[in-house]
Amino acid sequence: MNTQEARQVIFEVLGDIAPEVDPSIVDDDLDLTEQLDLDSMDYLNWMVGINEVTGIDIPQREVSRFLTIAGAVGYIVEHSS
């Protein structure tokens, strides 16, 4: 999976959780907690959704990478076959 595809998956799943979010205005490098008002449950649902679509597991110690879009994209690209 390349960056483009990874972004697509990420925002698709995010769209279920935060449907009003416009992907174009999200800053890739800023903390999503502040930007999108996500709480721990949102993060978890987001990661579960990504796992369901891509099959990629996200162990506890990697969770912090998902605090930003850039981190999430990077993780997925690294771990896709």
């Binding site: 279920d16 959780i17 935060a18 449907p19 009003e20 008002d37 709480d39 721990s40 449950m41 978890l44 649902n45 990661m47 579960v48 796992n51 369901e52 597991d57 996200i58 162990p59 506890q60």
Partner: protein, 436 residues
């Protein structure tokens, strides 16, 4: 040998005079043949016999004596039998009796006739204690009935539905459920003082007719405003708080999550919720509803979970039987509940069933919550942010994750003592996370 008894030939016939016999000993008789004539107060009646046989012996002479029903009048030898000496009377069921009740033979004097005895038995009257108003002091049906007459039964209490139940029409209930509105908070202007559909509709317009999330939110805010105002107006809140050391819980949680894939990950919130649910079992006074005039404890623990809705709004749907869910089940249900709540797909039973609610504002960076109870519940638990804090352990200072748990409770139902016990239970349960 067949006993021929005086049968009862009418519902109220107790006695009769034997007017005459139409047969004599030695006569062959057959079933259905009239063999005697008797006279009651109402009429003269013909009596038939019920068997084929030969008249062996006539035991009673025609005369003016009033004979009770069941009196042995004659004996008939059935055609199979050889003629034999008269056997002594035994108490066997009468063959010739026509009454509804099968009764044994009896002596002519002394005992009341079988129909009277039967009636007495039915009505629970002790014949031995009765005086008779019939001829020769005989006990009659009327005597029995008089004796049986109990003092006038108390008029049954008029049916009143349980006073704690909100009186609402089926349609009002249906609408209130679908909109997550508490019936007890509504005015009742319907017939017979019931909450009507109009009362529900006027209180909160239908979310079904509005599609824009914005409008849904403002409708929700109005409902929340009403509910919270009602709560603060009606419920005498008191507050308690305690700081809980979460070191054991968080350590256990980290290890548990190492073994789990992301889909099974357990959030700290799950531990807090489970501990609260179990504690509610230990202190049942916080788990239930205030209805009408009193507290109705709930048999189940349906934990309401306060979930914020994006762009403003709050719902607190129920996790049914939260105390009985394993931690994994609870986590999975919680995730599902949150995602459905945030996409407006909650079920009506989830809205109407919570017995106690938990609000978890830790993510928002709040240390301590001071919740407002959602009527008709009687308690709400709040958890603040989990923060690392210095604590004293075995005389030394260490840094542990701690959380402040607070309780808002209805002072009509509990006081500080129970409330304190409840928080202490939560604390204790969180020190043994492996048992949650």
């Amino acid at each position: 040998m067949i006993d021929f008894l005086l049968p009862s030939l009418g519902a109220d016939m107790d006695v009769a005079k034997l007017n005459c016999w139409l047969v004599k000993p030695g006569d062959t008789v057959h079933k259905g043949q009239i063999i005697a004539e008797v006279e009651t107060e109402k009429a003269t009646l013909e009596v038939e016999c019920w068997h084929d046989g030969v008249i062996e012996e006539l035991l009673v002479e025609p005369g003016p004596d009033r004979l009770p029903v069941g009196t042995l009048l004659a004996r008939i030898r059935s055609l199979d039998e050889a003629a034999e000496p008269v056997a002594p009377l035994e108490g066997e069921p009468a063959a010739g009796l026509v009454t509804a009740a099968a009764v044994p033979t009896h002596k002519v004097s002394g005992q009341p006739p079988p129909p009277v005895r039967h009636l007495a038995h039915e009505l629970g009257v002790d014949l031995a204690a009765l005086g008779g108003s019939g001829p020769d002091g005989a006990i009659t049906r009327d005597d029995v009935r008089r004796a049986a007459r109990a003092p006038a039964a108390e008029a049954p209490e008029p049916f009143v539905s349980r006073p704690t139940r909100v009186r609402a029409t089926p349609r009002a209930r249906s609408l209130a459920r679908s909109r997550g509105i508490d019936l007890a908070s509504l005015p009742a202007t319907g017939p017979q003082g019931m909450v009507s559909a109009g009362d529900v509709a006027r209180t909160a317009p239908s979310p079904e007719t509005i599609d824009e999330p914005d409008d849904k939110v403002s409708a929700m805010r109005r409902a929340i405003a009403r509910s919270m105002s009602h709560s603060k107006r009606e419920i005498p809140h008191y507050y308690l708080a305690t700081t809980i050391d979460l070191d054991r819980s968080m350590t256990w949680l980290e290890a548990a999550n190492e073994e789990r894939s992301v889909t099974q990950r357990i959030l700290p919130a799950a531990l807090l919720i489970k501990a609260t649910a179990l504690a509610a079992r230990e202190v049942p006074e916080v788990n239930g509803h205030w209805v009408g005039d009193g507290f109705a404890p709930s048999q189940s623990v349906h934990l309401g979970v306060a979930i914020s809705i994006r762009e403003g709004g709050l719902v607190a749907p129920a996790l049914h039987d939260a105390d009985r869910l394993s931690l994994d089940e609870l986590m999975s249900r919680l995730r599902d509940l949150v995602s459905r709540a945030r996409s407006w797909r909650l079920k009506s039973s989830e809205m109407s069933d919570p017995t106690i609610t938990v609000t978890n504002l830790g993510d928002r960076g709040v240390d301590t919550a001071f919740p407002v109870i959602i009527p008709p519940q009687v308690a709400m638990v709040g958890f603040g942010k989990v923060i690392d804090s210095p604590v004293a352990v075995d005389g030394a200072v260490v840094v542990h994750p701690v959380v402040t748990a607070s309780l808002a409770a209805d002072h009509r139902v509990t006081d500080g003592h129970n409330g304190g016990l409840f928080l202490a239970s939560i604390d204790r349960l969180l020190q043994e996370p492996e048992n949650l």
